[in-house]
Symmetry: C2
Amino acid sequence: MDLSQKMVDLGRKSSKIREIFEYSKRRKAEIGAENVFDFSIGNPSVPAPKAVEETMRRLLAEQDPVLLHGYTAAAGDPEVRRKLAAAINRDYDADARGELMYLTCGAAASLTISLNALVVPGDEVIVFAPFFPEYRVFAEQAGARLVVVPSRPADFQPDYEALERSVTPRTKAVIINSPNNPTGVIIPASGLSRLAALLRAREEEYGKRIYLIADEPYRKLVWTGEEVPYPTRYYDDTLVCYSFSKAASLPGERIGYILVSSAMKNAADVYAAICGAGRALGFVCAPSLLQFTMAECADETADFSIYRKNRDILLRELTRIGYEVIPPDGAFYLFMKALEPDADAFYERARKYELLLVPSDSFGCPGYVRIAYCVTTEQIRRAIPAFEKLYEEYQK
Amino acid sequence: MDLSQKMVDLGRKSSKIREIFEYSKRRKAEIGAENVFDFSIGNPSVPAPKAVEETMRRLLAEQDPVLLHGYTAAAGDPEVRRKLAAAINRDYDADARGELMYLTCGAAASLTISLNALVVPGDEVIVFAPFFPEYRVFAEQAGARLVVVPSRPADFQPDYEALERSVTPRTKAVIINSPNNPTGVIIPASGLSRLAALLRAREEEYGKRIYLIADEPYRKLVWTGEEVPYPTRYYDDTLVCYSFSKAASLPGERIGYILVSSAMKNAADVYAAICGAGRALGFVCAPSLLQFTMAECADETADFSIYRKNRDILLRELTRIGYEVIPPDGAFYLFMKALEPDADAFYERARKYELLLVPSDSFGCPGYVRIAYCVTTEQIRRAIPAFEKLYEEYQK
């Protein structure tokens, strides 16, 4: 074969989200950007915190460029890791250690490196539907089979009974994503406890490790009083995958980390495997300017008040119109039931009203659409009549 | 298995270079940094060009942060790619196209993405010894078998007769690295022509594509009149892997690209596979601030006068003392024959004089050491007596 057909397909069959993104560009050119209500992309729309910008400028002005732009240790500058671990411990009363933190080029890299570190042929990786579609790409590239476990239809929490039936001696890891993309649902402490007890029991039964991979780019985007419990406090065999993309509005800069729980018995081995996987995949180090910047700005978040306002308006108005929605506790997505069983058909109909929503099939949970509300409030307000007309069309 | 032992080993058995780096740190703490002559690491020691720093500061001050730090297209911002392609065409009279350029997190990522895009099980990837040791890690991780072809001992140019015997129907790609790490040797136009003719003949014979992967992070570091011919002008099935790390002294920032030759018949497929591989490995986009910066600074290079001076002093003095060295045309490495057949033993003896040189075994070419001269000229001058004593020890 002249090249990897699998990779050609992955490059060509871009995700549904990207397909909509391309449609959106064309449509905006045709009828004007303000007339297209694009809710398809999770691209933060608020600027990075002022402190982040100022820290970058200050470092550029004051630091020795040879150090500022030089190779750091592959796992990231040790002092940066120490500071980021300290911030975690302060915020969540955890036992994060810099020497068990590996800085990455963002959440996707955190996941691919973790999966490549852990997975051996024959392994299974469990996700809960609805799930971020790239989980499948990442897990399969690492050599695992993706096993999809449903959520409970009532509240979109993981279905623990279904999980119980799905964990097998082949299970290498379970990925959770809280607050969730696409539902915005947060797994509460009680849920994490139940999940931890279940996995611990199976670890003992099978005499092997089952890792919890907590993908948490939305940890700091929370709209209700709901807390996002810190997963290492519930389960020892946890890897926390974090990214500053969403919290600090820096998605293009690619900066995040993997944190191996210090309570994990084989933490040193797992950390070594993460270093090995980062090396083999071609991640030399996370971007150095961003490393040094985030060490100073670990707690800085963008101004989320717009997201919260958008969420509140959408939740109120869509409910008023008659739509069935999952009230999101966090992240900047709202999961809404399609008005017909085929979410793709619903997506097509919505497009007639210039509403670009993401059908949920690729999230492993048919019959819904995802609405990304990290947009201007103006767009939200102008889109409400379109949502109304779409609803009316289905009442005829 | 609890995790991937292969990855644990890769993480633990860090490269010889990193092992020396760790020794160097300890030793410097013991006897003072100025007394350790560390020639082990290819970390640029001159600052990034002023224009690069100024452009970063200007972009931070003037650009909308939502755009500056936002996701770009996965392949990189289209306008950035257009500008970088134009710079290549201006400099090398090539036919680079932005739509066949894929921006990456540096040279390592350029290589892993290219290899994962091309390689299918059973494939072989050819390198010429001495070669950058990570080529083995990257090729094997992509699923290929690494086939090592020697260079000619006289001039360290690829041994084309040996290559002729090593290309098989399983050959997927040949990696070249010019100027070379660790020898500094440049492959001249005549060499590239011969290589291209050989590969074209085998492509026809086997009825399949054989790709040339040109790893070129040192393209702009040239000390003699020697030209570095642009490989797409010689062979259609070429992928150029570039990084700004060395030329612009930005190794920590992770910015580079893959350029697919516009003359490649299946360029669109190969480019799609590169997009797919980038996606599957978890590279969402190259760091956005660096993308926009390098679009403005494509031609900027750090002040290489120190490297050139260091090279000249080392070459003159080591030859004077009696060492046998390969005069480097480019890069910032000098390849020197060890004074005994076992380069590791020679490395140990050199250490007694606080000289840290990298034994060449991991480069696939035993009996030599690599001297990275991207250091201060002061270190070069102070190290000469140590080289003298080391040489004398072998004359007893």
